[in-house]
Symmetry: D2
Subunit: 309 residues, 4 copies
């Protein structure tokens, strides 16, 4: 299979990768994002920064975290360099080897190829597409897929192809999920966003999309899991409601949390009002999670996330 643009740009760093991009110009772009994760031990920062210096790079932004829970070390660097990817990869290769780094090098600001799954609710889809189009959200969306046709006009207005397939029985669900995997493959998808897609993914699909599928949960987890959280919140008389953006795992609603927010509500709010208020929160939490993911600011640390904002 021929290499895709996304693979070229975001390929894992390593000796074998460097030679795969012969056509890429070596002088642009001038800013790179490097993320890495490994077992924590002394000397990592020095070795990595040495490789950056050797490739005539300048570190303009750097964040790191050593997790006391897992003993893992995480780092995100922005590097200004006029020597290009090959030089950086070449310099980093021995460090990656020595420390067993899981490293990823990417051009800063490169839009992530994103597939959006939706259902009938418009708010998150509209918010994502509007901000993508405004240039504030570093994703490109080659396709929106949905199990209803409701959002066709909205999606097509934003110039994005829309594909709907019914999911009314197990066979249709299987067909839908197969179509998702085909689309992921065909469009070099790097991120799948469940923008209020109201279906539970099969364990197989969760597994296939592990670490690159973000869901918005319409509640401040771990409260009010399951169906109709706004009704639950109303009955319980809570004074704050919120939403949670998280990675999808086969353990429903329990994937690593990326972002949460809440807003204040009052006794006079009906269930319908809570839902409406909550939708603004959902848009914001999902958009922040997608933005951070697209900027390589989200790293996985077991069941927790490290967010390098």
């Amino acid at each position: 299979m021929p290499e895709t643009p996304a693979e070229k740009a975001a390929a894992p760093v390593g000796p074998t990768t460097a030679s795969q991009n012969p056509a890429e110009p070596t002088t642009a772009p001038t800013t790179w994002v490097l993320t890495l994760a490994c077992e924590d031990r002394p000397g990592i920062v020095h070795a990595v920064s040495g490789a950056v210096v050797a490739a005539r790079g300048n570190i303009t932004e750097s964040q790191q975290f050593a997790s006391p829970d897992t003993g893992r070390f995480f780092m995100r660097l922005q590097i200004a360099s006029d020597t290009g990817r090959d030089a950086l990869e070449g310099a980093l290769a021995p460090v990656i080897e020595r420390f067993g780094l899981e490293a990823s090098l990417d051009a800063a600001g490169r839009p992530r190829r994103t597939l959006i799954l939706a259902s009938k609710a418009a708010h998150c889809v509209s918010d994502l597409l509007f901000h993508q189009r405004s240039g504030h959200l570093p994703i490109e969306v080659p396709l929106v897929m949905a199990n209803h046709d409701t959002l066709r006009d909205l999606v097509e207005f934003h110039g994005v192809p829309f594909h709907s397939l019914p999911v009314a029985d197990p066979e249709q669900k299987e067909a839908f999920e197969s179509a998702v995997l085909e689309a992921v493959d065909a469009h070099d998808i790097e991120l799948v966003v469940l923008a209020r897609y109201m279906q539970i993914l099969s364990p197989e699909l969760c597994e296939a999309l592990a670490g690159r599928c973000i869901n918005i949960h319409h509640s401040f987890l771990p409260g009010f899991k399951g169906a109709n959280p706004y009704r639950q919140a109303h009955e319980r008389g809570v004074k704050l409601i919120g939403s949670t953006a998280h990675f999808v795992t086969s353990d429903l609603d329990e994937g690593p949390i990326i972002e949460q927010n809440v807003t204040r509500v009052e006794h006079s709010h009906s269930v319908a009002q809570l839902r409406e208020i909550g939708q603004d929160q959902e848009c914001l939490a999902l958009r922040r999670a997608v933005t951070w993911f697209a900027q390589s600011r989200v790293l996985l640390d077991g069941m927790r996330t490290v967010i390098f904002r």
Copy 2:
């Protein structure tokens, strides 16, 4: 038993009550707070406001709520009047009778007699006593009781008697709870505040204090019930932690919620840091709940609260 000042000031409104306060001056204070609850039906507001007018009162603040869930109607009025309690009670009596109102009339700003129960943690006790002393919290605290002696100096510095009794076994617990009930009686206590009192109350004590006992739960309920919520929050990797002030019922951590708040945390926060951050939230949520209760702004609507802020 002779009538206490608290009973005089906060007595339920009714025909029989009016004559019990012969010595109270009829011209002061000039502002009253009236709360009422009843089954919702037309004409309540008109009848109540008519009684206020008849007693030469002027309504300066008014809030109401008709609960669609329970069919109950709730109202809180502030009334400026120079005719005194007797005139107001006399005018309201037939309205109370006609609509079956649960009514309470109180002098605005009168400090509520409050018993604080504590354990070892100082932050909530210190916050309450400091703000009480500053004149910002309309309570008076005749006694702090605790199951440890840790906070004696702090409490006594604020000029409040401190009484500690060990609660190390069931018998001691029973003795402590008996002492609480005696103190409630002896000091005309209107509100009991569990300021991080780390013991579970017996069902009997919960029952005896129903509707006048506020707890601070060190979590944003309904998430992370039970022990060590900050450890739970850390393991789950949440991005917000919060606290909940609620009425105590025998159903642990499930009483009607009065106030909640949250604050943002990050992956780098340890469990100890989460706890410390959470303590500020606990102080604020508990203080707001106590303030609102003391201002007659908290009414019970089944398992929910109506908060007339």
Copy 3:
């Protein structure tokens, strides 16, 4: 000129108005919103609630405020009634007369006829039109006017006519403002929203639209008035940025404030990032202000607003 639907629905309450709506059915809608303002004095609530009872209405929501600064009294009532507008107006007329009330009676939920003025920035326009279309914002928008053609596609996608006129010199500005006033007249406009319309209105237009024109100021007033507030905020190194929705007056950026919000920023945010972050705040503050206005929750008290949320 024949009476418009908007005038029929929102006409000021009074004896002469009642007879102008002969064709309006007397049994629907069943919920009304009554707002009133007058000099504060005893008996208003009783008189108004009496009129409501007389018209077989039931008060389902009520808020009031007596302003110590201006001596004005403000009230907002929601009234369930099956007798229709005529009966309510007839019953209220003598009370309006007696207390000199400025009263307005409206069907609850009736969309306000809203003219949006825009320039090139899309975020507020998109947010308003999206939520209007979703049914969450009780306005109807017969027209968007702009001094650039940039937003035509966006506006027309939402099914709203778009009219652009250049404003490059004083004559063009005058022509634009004349067109605004004509549109206000032709479309029975009740609210004009400046959705990041980057022109200063003439004092004449401010006067003509007094009390029904809302602007979003891209700053947390009174800090950073004037041009390029995000640059000012950056230079000053503030840790929070915000936005302000306010009524337009001829005193630039000084009209009565309806809503404000802020969000946290950091030293690493560039001016461009502050602007982007601020735009979310602008959308939310403007939408809340418009919603509250459309629900008759915003009343003017001199240079301040009373917000009955």
Copy 4:
């Protein structure tokens, strides 16, 4: 003058300093905080991390920022090391020399010696002393000075000496400021906190305390500078009020901002209520600013601050 403990612990890093601490044990504490600032250029991170590795240190936390406005580079490192200060200083000395670093090395968690200046208002003083005593605020307070005697009991309850001097005329003010400078000297003060000290400092004192004196401004700057900001806020009808903690400079209320916060208010809040609400904000903003300063998380970048939270 003999060297003080504070100087020993927090001395600027450099070749000449290393030999001044002969008595300090070389194996404890095991965690160090290194902050540095210099003109931005490539290789700094590599050189610094190399020195850390050479001293057998492990970088456990690292934050950096290159300011596009000033061209300055800032960094904060936490370093676990069992080799002690001498080894670290020795390894860092050539790097400091080469890059012209302004460096500071300190034992992590070492309490900063802090002088509090107060007036009559108790809330900030109480909050700081309570949290210091609870072990949550890494400062030690050898003295509180005030221009009134009001807070003596509060301060002495917390076991802190209290010294009051009247400031009623220019001579008394000069005497007070002289006493401040003497106390700074006598107690090796590293931080002066104006905890609602209501006097304007002389330019000379501002200069003498530059970069180590924090004030809490009772407003969300730059709005409502000057006297009685809560009255100004009330008149303007703002919907949010806030506070600002900032470094003191001779340009009144214009020093670099460290922390800000806001809270929501309503039309019904009186000036007195705004003030009371604002005081909670003041406590929190000031405490956060002091905490960050004491943890070496606040660096100056011209008129802005870099906050490494």
